[in-house]
Homo-oligomer: 236 residues x 3
C-alpha cells in the first residue's frame, strides 16, 4: 500500500509507486535555480512528480484527472525513449502547485488512476497497443496532445509502427472524428517504434473510432503469435 | 507459411510476418487525411507496409528488391531506435502503389527476401555487425542511403559504435570505394550505438571492402566472449 | 587479463574489454577520408577508441584521467541511447594522438579506471543512479560537461528521471555549488529516462552535494523493491 511504500522509502519526497515502474514524488519548495532554469512561474514552488519507465499515455491520462481534481498545473512533460527495451516511451510529468498539499494530492490521484488507464494497453513480446479515452480533456491532454479542453479525446498507439498505420486508418474510416495529430517514429515521437494518433469530436464517434482501431490492432499484433493481453482491465 | 499466418490474423490488411519481428501489411485505399498529412502523391492510394522491431538494413535491402520487382515507390522510410533492447534500429517502410495487388506483391517479395538479407547480420550479447551488398541499387537504397541507382552499393554497420569505427577504416583501406555517408550515434543515426557507412564503386571493390570489414568486425565483437553468429546464412 | 583478450581478438586494433560492455580499440593511421569527414586536426592520425553499451559517465570520467596522463585529445564524444534496455546512455569516445603509443596508452588507462568510476553507479531493475567526482576536471569533463579545467566537478544522474529531479534539488540545497548544466530526457539527454546535473565549486562542497543526492536517491530507487547496489565499490 501507499503507506508501507512510504515508510520503505523513508523520505518526505516519496509519495508512492505504481504499475509501469511509475514513481510519485513531491518537492515542497523546489530549489530556485531549478525553477529559473525552466522558467516556470515562481508561484509554483511545490512540484508533484510522476515519473515512469513504461508508458506515457497512461500516465498523461492519469495526470489529466489529477489536474482536474486539484489546484495544479502541468509545468513539464517529456517523453524519453524507454519501456525497458520495449517499443515505446517512458514519461516525466511535473505538476506545479502553490501548496505542497495540492502537489501531493495530485500525485496520489494520478498514481491511483493508473490501474484504470493501463486497462486498454495490450502487449505481447512483439509490441503493444494503447487506447485512451476521455469525455472531457483537461490540461494534461491539452499540453501533451493539443486536445481541446472539455471535449472528448481519443488516443491510438500501435507498435511496431506499421500496426499503428493500419489502426489509425481504420479509426478514421470508422467514425466522423477530427485528427488532432499523427506521429511516426522520427516525426513527433522520440524515436519510438510507434504510430500515434489523437482524435477529437463527438464522444460517441471518438469511442467508435477507438473500438474499430482496437479490433484490427489486436488481430494484427496477435499475428506474431501470442494474443496481446490487457495489462489490467479494459475501460473503453 | 504466409497463408496460415493470414488466417491467424483474419484481417484483409495482413500479409505476413518474418524474422526481425517484421510484419507485412497492406491498405487498399489509405484514408485521404493520412495521405494529405504526409503530402504523398494522391495516386498512391494503396500502401504496402513493412514494419519491424529488429533491423533496418535487412528490411531496406529487401524493400529494394521489392520496388525493383513491382510498380511501387518508397513513400516513407523511418528508423526508430529499437532492436528490443539491442544497439540498433527498427524500421518502418511504406510503399505506395496505384493498385493494391502491386502493394501486396511488393510486401510479399520483401518478406520473403529477409531470410537472405539477414544472412550477413551477426550478433552476440554485446552487439551486432551488419553487411549488405547489392550489385544494382534501386529506389529504397537510394532513398535510405543515397546509393546511386543501378550501381553497386555496400553497407557496413558495427555496434557498439567503436567496432564500426575500426571496420569502416578497414573497409576504406581494403579497396577503392567511394564513401557515400558515414553516420555515428547522434549524427545520422537515431541515437543507436552504431557507426554506419555506405560505399559505392566497382562491384568487386565494394565486395572486397565489405569482406575486409567483416573479417575484423567478427574478431572484435568476438572479443566480448561469444563468437557472433550469422542470423541465417551469409550471402556476401 | 588485457593480454589474453588481445590474443583472443587477434587484431592489432584491439586493446581490451572492460565492464559496461566497454571495448578499447586503437587505429594507428586513421583513413584520411574519415579524418576529413569529421574535420579533425590532421596531426591526430592515431585514434584511441572507448566504446560501450552501458554507461557514459564512467567512461567519460575514465577518459578524463586518460587525457591527463597522455598526449591525447578528445576528438569525438557521442552518447547513444542505450544501456541494453536500461534507462540511460552508452558512449563513444575517440581520442586523437600524434603517436599510436599515446593512443594505446590512453585507452589502457581508461579501461583500467572503469573499475573505479563504476563505483558510484547503483542499479536495480527499476533504474539507476550515478555519482562522479573529480578534484580537478580535465579535457574530457570539459568537453562533455563544460566543467572548468582544474576545478572540482561533480555529476549526478537519476533514472527514472523523477528521482533525478529530487536528487538534484537535494544536491543544490546541501552545499554551495554552482550548477553547470541540468538536462532532462529530451533537453540535453539523448532521450534517456534521466535527469542529469553537473556542479562545480569548492571540492568539499561538491562532495557534500553529491553525498546528499546519493542519500536520497538510494532511498527512492529502493522504493521499487530491491536495494540498489554499487556495481563495484563506492569511491566518493
Amino acid at each position: 500500500s501507499c503507506c508501507e511504500a512510504l515508510s520503505a522509502a523513508g523520505v518526505t519526497e516519496f509519495v508512492g509507486t505504481a504499475m509501469g515502474d511509475t514513481i510519485g514524488l513531491v518537492i515542497a519548495n523546489l530549489e530556485s535555480r531549478i525553477l529559473e532554469k525552466f522558467g516556470w512561474d515562481p508561484k509554483y514552488r511545490s512540484i508533484g512528480i510522476i515519473s515512469d519507465r513504461v508508458g506515457a499515455g497512461p500516465q498523461i491520462m492519469a495526470a489529466d484527472e489529477a489536474v482536474k481534481a486539484t489546484n495544479t498545473e502541468v509545468v513539464l512533460l517529456e517523453l524519453p525513449r524507454d519501456t525497458k527495451g520495449g517499443a515505446g516511451h517512458g514519461c516525466l510529468i511535473l505538476l506545479g502547485a502553490e501548496d505542497v498539499s495540492d502537489a501531493r494530492r495530485a500525485v496520489e490521484v494520478a498514481l491511483k488512476d493508473l490501474e484504470r488507464t493501463f486497462g486498454d494497453v495490450y502487449a505481447n513480446d512483439a509490441g503493444h497497443l494503447e487506447f485512451q479515452y476521455t469525455a472531457r480533456a483537461s490540461y494534461a491532454c491539452n499540453k501533451a496532445f493539443g486536445a481541446p479542453l472539455g471535449k472528448a479525446f481519443g488516443l491510438i498507439v500501435g507498435a511496431p509502427a506499421g500496426i499503428g498505420v493500419v489502426m489509425t486508418d481504420a479509426a478514421l474510416k470508422a467514425a466522423e472524428v477530427e485528427m488532432l495529430f499523427y506521429s511516426t517514429p522520427t516525426n513527433g515521437n522520440t524515436y519510438t517504434n510507434e504510430v500515434v494518433m489523437g482524435v477529437t469530436g463527438d464522444s460517441g464517434a471518438v469511442r467508435q473510432s477507438l473500438i474499430a482501431a482496437r479490433e484490427v490492432g489486436l488481430k494484427l499484433l496477435g499475428a506474431f503469435g501470442e494474443p496481446p493481453k490487457s495489462l489490467t482491465k479494459p475501460y473503453i
